[in-house]
Protein backbone atom coordinates (compact mmCIF):
# COMPACT_ATOMS: atom_id res chain seq x y z
CA UNK A 1 0.00 0.00 0.00
CA UNK A 2 2.80 2.33 0.98
CA UNK A 3 4.81 1.87 -2.21
CA UNK A 4 1.57 2.08 -4.12
CA UNK A 5 0.67 5.51 -2.75
CA UNK A 6 4.25 6.73 -3.07
CA UNK A 7 4.13 5.84 -6.73
CA UNK A 8 0.83 7.67 -7.03
CA UNK A 9 2.17 10.81 -5.39
CA UNK A 10 5.08 10.75 -7.83
CA UNK A 11 2.89 10.16 -10.84
CA UNK A 12 0.26 12.82 -10.16
CA UNK A 13 3.01 15.41 -9.68
CA UNK A 14 4.94 14.55 -12.83
CA UNK A 15 4.04 15.91 -16.25
CA UNK A 16 3.93 12.36 -17.57
CA UNK A 17 0.46 11.76 -16.17
CA UNK A 18 -1.35 14.70 -17.77
CA UNK A 19 0.34 14.09 -21.10
CA UNK A 20 -0.42 10.37 -21.21
CA UNK A 21 -3.97 10.82 -19.93
CA UNK A 22 -4.72 13.33 -22.72
CA UNK A 23 -3.36 11.08 -25.47
CA UNK A 24 -5.03 7.91 -24.16
CA UNK A 25 -8.43 9.61 -23.79
CA UNK A 26 -8.16 11.19 -27.26
CA UNK A 27 -7.22 7.88 -28.89
CA UNK A 28 -10.01 5.98 -27.12
CA UNK A 29 -12.55 8.68 -27.98
CA UNK A 30 -11.35 8.59 -31.61
CA UNK A 31 -11.93 4.82 -31.70
CA UNK A 32 -15.41 5.30 -30.36
CA UNK A 33 -16.01 7.97 -33.01
CA UNK A 34 -14.88 5.54 -35.70
CA UNK A 35 -17.08 2.79 -34.26
CA UNK A 36 -20.02 5.24 -34.40
CA UNK A 37 -19.20 5.68 -38.11
CA UNK A 38 -18.14 9.30 -37.62
CA UNK A 39 -21.55 10.34 -36.35
CA UNK A 40 -21.04 14.04 -35.49
CA UNK A 41 -22.74 13.50 -32.12
CA UNK A 42 -19.85 11.21 -31.12
CA UNK A 43 -17.21 13.92 -31.71
CA UNK A 44 -14.05 12.76 -29.87
CA UNK A 45 -13.09 16.14 -28.39
CA UNK A 46 -15.98 16.64 -25.92
CA UNK A 47 -15.86 12.91 -25.09
CA UNK A 48 -12.15 13.09 -24.24
CA UNK A 49 -12.58 16.32 -22.26
CA UNK A 50 -15.42 14.87 -20.15
CA UNK A 51 -13.46 11.65 -19.54
CA UNK A 52 -10.35 13.58 -18.46
CA UNK A 53 -12.33 15.86 -16.12
CA UNK A 54 -14.00 12.83 -14.48
CA UNK A 55 -10.65 11.10 -13.96
CA UNK A 56 -8.99 14.23 -12.55
CA UNK A 57 -11.95 14.80 -10.28
CA UNK A 58 -11.95 11.20 -8.99
CA UNK A 59 -8.20 11.28 -8.34
CA UNK A 60 -8.40 14.81 -6.88
CA UNK A 61 -5.75 16.16 -9.23
CA UNK A 62 -5.94 19.94 -9.72
CA UNK A 63 -5.98 21.37 -13.26
CA UNK A 64 -2.61 23.03 -12.68
CA UNK A 65 -0.93 19.63 -12.14
CA UNK A 66 -2.72 18.14 -15.14
CA UNK A 67 -1.71 21.06 -17.32
CA UNK A 68 1.98 20.71 -16.38
CA UNK A 69 1.85 17.63 -18.64
CA UNK A 70 -0.89 18.60 -21.07
CA UNK A 71 0.89 21.88 -21.88
CA UNK A 72 3.14 19.99 -24.31
CA UNK A 73 0.09 19.22 -26.43
CA UNK A 74 -1.36 22.70 -25.91
CA UNK A 75 1.93 24.17 -27.07
CA UNK A 76 1.57 22.45 -30.46
CA UNK A 77 -1.31 24.81 -31.31
CA UNK A 78 1.33 27.45 -32.15
CA UNK A 79 3.38 25.45 -34.69
CA UNK A 80 0.13 23.91 -36.03
CA UNK A 81 -1.16 27.41 -36.76
CA UNK A 82 2.07 28.17 -38.64
CA UNK A 83 1.66 24.87 -40.53
CA UNK A 84 -1.75 26.07 -41.81
CA UNK A 85 0.26 28.04 -44.38
CA UNK A 86 0.82 24.76 -46.24
CA UNK A 87 -2.83 23.77 -47.02
CA UNK A 88 -3.46 27.49 -47.54
CA UNK A 89 -0.73 27.56 -50.20
CA UNK A 90 -2.30 24.63 -52.06
CA UNK A 91 -5.69 26.37 -52.08
CA UNK A 92 -4.40 29.67 -53.45
CA UNK A 93 -5.62 28.80 -56.95
CA UNK A 94 -9.18 28.28 -55.71
CA UNK A 95 -8.78 31.51 -53.78
CA UNK A 96 -8.07 33.49 -56.95
CA UNK A 97 -11.60 33.00 -58.24
CA UNK A 98 -13.50 33.51 -54.98
CA UNK A 99 -11.33 35.89 -52.98
CA UNK A 100 -13.73 38.83 -52.92
CA UNK A 101 -16.87 36.92 -51.81
CA UNK A 102 -14.67 35.04 -49.35
CA UNK A 103 -13.15 38.13 -47.73
CA UNK A 104 -16.54 39.84 -47.39
CA UNK A 105 -18.12 36.69 -45.90
CA UNK A 106 -15.18 36.32 -43.51
CA UNK A 107 -15.39 39.85 -42.17
CA UNK A 108 -19.16 39.67 -41.72
CA UNK A 109 -19.06 36.14 -40.31
CA UNK A 110 -16.38 36.85 -37.70
CA UNK A 111 -17.96 40.13 -36.60
CA UNK A 112 -21.46 38.65 -36.49
CA UNK A 113 -20.44 35.61 -34.41
CA UNK A 114 -18.55 37.74 -31.90
CA UNK A 115 -21.07 40.56 -31.60
CA UNK A 116 -24.12 38.26 -31.36
CA UNK A 117 -22.46 36.21 -28.61
CA UNK A 118 -21.57 39.43 -26.78
CA UNK A 119 -25.11 40.78 -26.93
CA UNK A 120 -26.85 37.51 -26.06
CA UNK A 121 -24.54 37.06 -23.06
CA UNK A 122 -25.19 40.66 -22.00
CA UNK A 123 -28.94 40.30 -22.45
CA UNK A 124 -29.00 37.09 -20.40
CA UNK A 125 -27.12 38.81 -17.57
CA UNK A 126 -23.61 37.39 -17.89
CA UNK A 127 -20.76 39.33 -16.27
CA UNK A 128 -18.68 41.76 -18.34
CA UNK A 129 -15.61 39.53 -18.32
CA UNK A 130 -17.72 36.69 -19.72
CA UNK A 131 -19.15 38.97 -22.42
CA UNK A 132 -15.71 40.19 -23.49
CA UNK A 133 -14.23 36.70 -23.42
CA UNK A 134 -16.97 35.59 -25.85
CA UNK A 135 -16.02 37.95 -28.69
CA UNK A 136 -13.15 35.93 -30.24
CA UNK A 137 -14.79 32.52 -29.62
CA UNK A 138 -15.02 31.58 -33.31
CA UNK A 139 -11.28 32.06 -33.88
CA UNK A 140 -8.83 29.20 -33.44
CA UNK A 141 -7.59 28.81 -29.82
CA UNK A 142 -4.10 30.36 -29.61
CA UNK A 143 -5.19 33.41 -31.59
CA UNK A 144 -8.49 33.81 -29.75
CA UNK A 145 -6.60 33.79 -26.44
CA UNK A 146 -4.30 36.55 -27.66
CA UNK A 147 -7.23 38.66 -28.88
CA UNK A 148 -9.18 38.08 -25.64
CA UNK A 149 -6.31 39.45 -23.60
CA UNK A 150 -6.25 42.59 -25.71
CA UNK A 151 -10.02 43.08 -25.34
CA UNK A 152 -9.93 42.77 -21.56
CA UNK A 153 -11.32 39.24 -21.45
CA UNK A 154 -9.94 36.17 -19.69
CA UNK A 155 -7.76 34.13 -22.12
CA UNK A 156 -8.34 30.79 -20.35
CA UNK A 157 -12.11 31.38 -20.30
CA UNK A 158 -11.98 32.27 -24.00
CA UNK A 159 -10.17 28.99 -24.66
CA UNK A 160 -13.09 27.12 -23.07
CA UNK A 161 -15.60 29.09 -25.18
CA UNK A 162 -13.54 28.40 -28.30
CA UNK A 163 -13.64 24.67 -27.67
CA UNK A 164 -17.40 24.65 -26.94
CA UNK A 165 -18.05 26.74 -30.08
CA UNK A 166 -15.92 24.38 -32.18
CA UNK A 167 -17.80 21.38 -30.84
CA UNK A 168 -21.19 22.99 -31.58
CA UNK A 169 -20.07 23.79 -35.14
CA UNK A 170 -18.57 20.33 -35.69
CA UNK A 171 -21.65 18.54 -34.36
CA UNK A 172 -24.42 20.61 -35.98
CA UNK A 173 -22.65 22.49 -38.82
CA UNK A 174 -23.03 20.27 -41.87
CA UNK A 175 -26.48 19.09 -40.75
CA UNK A 176 -27.79 22.65 -40.27
CA UNK A 177 -26.43 23.94 -43.59
CA UNK A 178 -27.92 20.99 -45.45
CA UNK A 179 -31.23 21.49 -43.66
CA UNK A 180 -31.61 25.11 -44.83
CA UNK A 181 -30.59 24.19 -48.37
CA UNK A 182 -27.12 25.79 -48.43
CA UNK A 183 -25.22 23.60 -50.86
CA UNK A 184 -21.76 23.47 -52.37
CA UNK A 185 -18.61 22.28 -50.60
CA UNK A 186 -16.89 25.64 -50.94
CA UNK A 187 -19.77 27.53 -49.30
CA UNK A 188 -20.26 24.99 -46.50
CA UNK A 189 -16.53 24.79 -45.88
CA UNK A 190 -16.25 28.57 -45.57
CA UNK A 191 -19.19 28.77 -43.13
CA UNK A 192 -17.76 26.01 -40.94
CA UNK A 193 -14.17 27.29 -41.03
CA UNK A 194 -15.19 30.84 -40.07
CA UNK A 195 -17.56 29.92 -37.23
CA UNK A 196 -16.06 26.70 -35.88
CA UNK A 197 -12.27 27.05 -36.59
CA UNK A 198 -10.08 23.92 -36.23
CA UNK A 199 -12.66 21.62 -34.69
CA UNK A 200 -15.14 22.37 -37.47
CA UNK A 201 -12.38 21.99 -40.06
CA UNK A 202 -11.44 18.56 -38.71
CA UNK A 203 -15.08 17.52 -39.10
CA UNK A 204 -15.34 19.04 -42.61
CA UNK A 205 -12.30 17.02 -43.74
CA UNK A 206 -14.10 13.89 -42.63
CA UNK A 207 -17.21 14.72 -44.65
CA UNK A 208 -15.16 15.48 -47.75
CA UNK A 209 -11.64 16.76 -48.49
CA UNK A 210 -12.84 19.62 -50.70
CA UNK A 211 -15.03 21.02 -47.90
CA UNK A 212 -12.16 20.50 -45.47
CA UNK A 213 -9.74 22.45 -47.64
CA UNK A 214 -12.11 25.41 -47.85
CA UNK A 215 -12.77 25.23 -44.11
CA UNK A 216 -9.03 25.22 -43.41
CA UNK A 217 -8.49 28.13 -45.78
CA UNK A 218 -11.25 30.20 -44.16
CA UNK A 219 -10.08 29.34 -40.66
CA UNK A 220 -6.54 30.47 -41.47
CA UNK A 221 -7.72 33.67 -43.17
CA UNK A 222 -10.19 34.36 -40.36
CA UNK A 223 -7.41 33.86 -37.83
CA UNK A 224 -5.21 36.41 -39.57
CA UNK A 225 -7.84 39.11 -40.07
CA UNK A 226 -9.84 38.73 -36.84
CA UNK A 227 -6.95 40.12 -34.82
CA UNK A 228 -7.30 43.32 -36.88
CA UNK A 229 -11.08 43.67 -36.95
CA UNK A 230 -12.38 42.38 -33.57
CA UNK A 231 -10.83 45.12 -31.38
CA UNK A 232 -12.21 47.67 -33.84
CA UNK A 233 -15.67 46.04 -33.81
CA UNK A 234 -15.76 46.11 -30.00
CA UNK A 235 -14.89 49.79 -29.97
CA UNK A 236 -17.65 50.44 -32.46
CA UNK A 237 -20.45 48.60 -30.59
CA UNK A 238 -19.59 50.09 -27.22
Amino acid sequence: MNTHSAFWVYLSASPLFGLTLTLVCYLLASRLYKAARYNPLANPVPLAIIAIICILWLLEIPYKDYFSGAQFIHFLLGPATVALAIPLYFQLNALKTIWLPLIISLVIGISFSGVSAYYIAQWMGASEVTQLSMIPKSVTAPIAMGISEGLGGLPSLTAVFVVITGVIGAVFGTWLLRKVGIRGDAVKGVAIGVTAHGLGTARAFQVNPQMGAFAGLSMALAASISAFILPWVLEWIR
Partner: protein
Amino acid sequence: MSFLSFITLLLIYQLIGEWVVIQWHFAIPGPVIGMLLLLMTLLFRPPLAKEMHFHAHPFLAHFSLMFIPAGVGVMVHWPRLQAEWSAILAALLISTLLGLLVTGGIMLLLMRLFSKNRSEE
Protein backbone atom coordinates in the same frame (compact mmCIF):
# COMPACT_ATOMS: atom_id res chain seq x y z
CA MET B 1 12.74 16.79 -45.46
CA SER B 2 12.85 14.94 -42.15
CA PHE B 3 10.13 15.38 -39.55
CA LEU B 4 12.66 17.06 -37.27
CA SER B 5 13.52 19.72 -39.87
CA PHE B 6 9.80 20.19 -40.53
CA ILE B 7 8.97 20.91 -36.89
CA THR B 8 12.11 23.02 -36.46
CA LEU B 9 11.13 25.14 -39.45
CA LEU B 10 7.64 25.69 -38.00
CA LEU B 11 9.15 26.74 -34.65
CA ILE B 12 11.58 29.13 -36.35
CA TYR B 13 8.70 30.83 -38.18
CA GLN B 14 6.67 31.02 -34.96
CA LEU B 15 9.67 32.47 -33.16
CA ILE B 16 10.15 35.13 -35.84
CA GLY B 17 6.41 35.86 -35.58
CA GLU B 18 6.59 36.30 -31.80
CA TRP B 19 9.65 38.48 -32.18
CA VAL B 20 7.90 40.73 -34.72
CA VAL B 21 4.93 41.08 -32.35
CA ILE B 22 7.10 42.15 -29.43
CA GLN B 23 9.36 44.36 -31.51
CA TRP B 24 6.60 46.36 -33.19
CA HIS B 25 3.79 45.94 -30.60
CA PHE B 26 1.53 44.22 -33.14
CA ALA B 27 -2.02 43.31 -32.13
CA ILE B 28 -1.82 40.11 -34.23
CA PRO B 29 -0.66 36.93 -32.44
CA GLY B 30 2.82 35.60 -33.26
CA PRO B 31 1.75 32.26 -34.83
CA VAL B 32 -0.38 34.16 -37.40
CA ILE B 33 2.59 36.31 -38.43
CA GLY B 34 4.62 33.10 -38.63
CA MET B 35 1.96 31.55 -40.85
CA LEU B 36 1.88 34.54 -43.21
CA LEU B 37 5.68 34.61 -43.41
CA LEU B 38 5.76 30.88 -44.20
CA LEU B 39 3.11 31.38 -46.87
CA MET B 40 5.24 34.09 -48.49
CA THR B 41 8.28 31.80 -48.38
CA LEU B 42 6.28 29.02 -50.07
CA LEU B 43 5.21 31.42 -52.82
CA PHE B 44 8.86 32.09 -53.59
CA ARG B 45 9.93 28.48 -53.18
CA PRO B 46 7.14 26.15 -54.39
CA PRO B 47 9.22 22.91 -54.06
CA LEU B 48 9.36 23.55 -50.31
CA ALA B 49 5.56 23.36 -50.12
CA LYS B 50 5.55 19.83 -51.55
CA GLU B 51 8.24 18.74 -49.10
CA MET B 52 6.42 20.23 -46.12
CA HIS B 53 3.05 18.87 -47.18
CA PHE B 54 4.23 15.33 -46.52
CA HIS B 55 4.54 16.05 -42.80
CA ALA B 56 1.90 18.77 -42.53
CA HIS B 57 -0.93 16.42 -43.41
CA PRO B 58 -0.54 13.92 -40.53
CA PHE B 59 0.37 16.77 -38.16
CA LEU B 60 -2.76 18.80 -38.93
CA ALA B 61 -4.93 15.65 -38.94
CA HIS B 62 -4.71 15.81 -35.13
CA PHE B 63 -5.43 19.51 -34.83
CA SER B 64 -8.48 18.75 -32.67
CA LEU B 65 -6.33 16.88 -30.11
CA MET B 66 -4.49 20.13 -29.40
CA PHE B 67 -7.71 21.80 -28.17
CA ILE B 68 -8.25 19.25 -25.39
CA PRO B 69 -5.97 20.71 -22.66
CA ALA B 70 -7.66 24.11 -23.07
CA GLY B 71 -11.09 22.46 -23.00
CA VAL B 72 -10.30 20.67 -19.74
CA GLY B 73 -9.74 24.19 -18.38
CA VAL B 74 -13.51 24.26 -17.94
CA MET B 75 -12.64 22.87 -14.47
CA VAL B 76 -10.98 26.10 -13.38
CA HIS B 77 -13.96 28.20 -14.42
CA TRP B 78 -16.48 25.95 -12.73
CA PRO B 79 -17.88 28.60 -10.30
CA ARG B 80 -18.36 31.12 -13.12
CA LEU B 81 -19.95 28.54 -15.38
CA GLN B 82 -22.28 27.42 -12.61
CA ALA B 83 -23.42 30.98 -11.98
CA GLU B 84 -23.80 31.98 -15.64
CA TRP B 85 -24.32 28.67 -17.43
CA SER B 86 -27.63 29.55 -19.10
CA ALA B 87 -26.33 32.84 -20.52
CA ILE B 88 -23.09 31.19 -21.69
CA LEU B 89 -24.79 28.22 -23.30
CA ALA B 90 -27.45 30.35 -25.02
CA ALA B 91 -24.86 32.85 -26.28
CA LEU B 92 -22.51 30.17 -27.64
CA LEU B 93 -25.21 27.99 -29.17
CA ILE B 94 -27.28 30.73 -30.83
CA SER B 95 -24.35 32.81 -32.05
CA THR B 96 -22.58 29.77 -33.51
CA LEU B 97 -25.63 28.42 -35.34
CA LEU B 98 -26.63 31.89 -36.59
CA GLY B 99 -23.00 32.57 -37.52
CA LEU B 100 -22.97 29.43 -39.69
CA LEU B 101 -26.15 30.48 -41.47
CA VAL B 102 -25.12 34.12 -41.95
CA THR B 103 -21.64 33.25 -43.24
CA GLY B 104 -22.90 30.46 -45.50
CA GLY B 105 -25.81 32.60 -46.76
CA ILE B 106 -23.65 35.60 -47.60
CA MET B 107 -20.99 33.45 -49.26
CA LEU B 108 -23.63 31.72 -51.40
CA LEU B 109 -25.26 35.02 -52.35
CA LEU B 110 -21.96 36.74 -53.24
CA MET B 111 -20.65 33.78 -55.25
CA ARG B 112 -23.84 33.76 -57.34
CA LEU B 113 -23.70 37.53 -57.75
CA PHE B 114 -20.05 37.50 -58.83
CA SER B 115 -20.36 34.57 -61.24
CA LYS B 116 -23.38 36.29 -62.80
CA ASN B 117 -21.41 39.51 -63.31
CA ARG B 118 -18.56 37.58 -64.82
CA SER B 119 -20.75 35.76 -67.32
CA GLU B 120 -22.38 39.04 -68.37
CA GLU B 121 -19.07 40.72 -69.12
